[in-house]
Subunit: 197 residues, 2 copies
DNA sequence: CCAAGCAATGAACGGTAATTCAGTATATGG
DNA sequence: CCATATACTGAATTACCGTTCATTGCTTGG
């Protein structure tokens, strides 16, 4: 009982490592158990089944991500600045923690889409948060009339695609320019007037 | 031997249908064989394995898509118009042929990512084509200095995300506005000057 | 020091799905 | 009408995986 929490955490950590290493996000309970240094049966003393573990892993990773973003946003007051800060920290985190990016952006849609909808929920969450920002900007007439849900979806989509492409095809040579391009793309995309920035 | 080509085509067609119908892109050789009206063993007289079939299916679907886009683009001379035509026809096709969208955007990344990289290749293709357009526009100074590879990636990403979201969460109520928003997002994103359109 | 209780084990079970192959049907050409 | 080749069949084989559970090892309170 003393080691209960610790072992649980170890299993979660092992799962993250196995996931990050495995091609295509394939993952087996046996592999996780091996990585965690336990027997397969032991796994079921800590999780009711494989899906419960995967749920936990996404929840954790997602919570970490959201937490970082929220903290970063808190430092700014203008919605444009908040958005820009979200973008920058998002890229920074995903490229520093590549395993996180691979798991959240690439593997989990595959892993969870069949049974539960957790991942879709997460993407939808991010989109919803972005939409709130856009609605606020729209209300202030700082961006032109638009379907803010579509814009928010497009916004999130650029990150998914760009970060995944960096993960799969290597990062850009001119990193500064790439980052600037991506941010500018979305700022222009939502319709921020250039005299404002 | 007479029926060889025909039966092969029939199997491919059956696979498309099974894929389109199945939730989550799960697909079994047995199901394909049943749909095609053959025994499971017969399948292996026409394809070396399941993966070979799936490769063929993506290749075919992708070729169809590209073909449609190319034909549409041919009707215009301005690169902006070509881009816009690509966007419109892409959305139109994907929403008319939802099974195609589901297969290309949702299922295949899951199905094929383990072994081959065909799907990533396909996305890269689309990005490359878009990049060519952007390079042309950049050379003509019609868009501002930017990392065109990043922009092209972002461009493609907006479509993936938006179309998938429409497939999963339902289409927008105000369809016109949504379409207009998406196109405007990308036109502004790449930096098309508003006095030009 | 022992026994009861708890944690951990990993072989075994049940299920699913890809692939094979010995056998069957069908067509062909002499 | 037979012999041969070719196409097809689907049950059996193989492989893998999630989950269970009878057994084993370990700890601890009396």
């Amino acid at each position: 009982m003393k080691s209960s929490k610790k072992l649980r955490a170890k299993i979660i950590q092992a799962a993250k490592e196995v996931l990050a290493a495995s091609e295509g996000g394939k993952i087996s309970v046996k592999a996780i158990a091996k990585k965690a240094g336990i027997a397969t049966g032991t796994f079921y003393l800590y999780f009711t089944n494989k899906e419960a573990l995967l749920d936990t892993v996404v929840q954790e990773l997602y919570a970490e991500l959201l937490d970082i973003i929220k903290k970063e946003r808190a430092a700014y007051t203008s919605v444009f600045d908040k958005l820009q800060a979200s973008m920058e920290v998002c890229i920074r985190i995903f490229l520093k923690e590549k395993h996180l990016a691979k798991i959240l952006l690439q593997y989990f849609p595959q892993i969870t889409s069949a049974v539960n909808t957790k991942f879709t929920d997460i993407e939808n969450d991010l989109i919803k948060f972005t939409k709130q920002d856009l609605d606020e900007l729209l209300a202030l007439k700082l961006i032109p009339e638009q379907d803010t849900l579509v814009s928010a979806t497009a916004f999130v989509g650029t990150f998914r695609e760009v970060i995944l492409s960096w993960l799969n095809n290597g990062e850009p040579e001119d990193w500064d320019k790439a980052l600037q391009t991506l941010i500018a793309y979305n700022m222009r995309g939502i319709g921020k007037r250039s005299e404002d920035w």
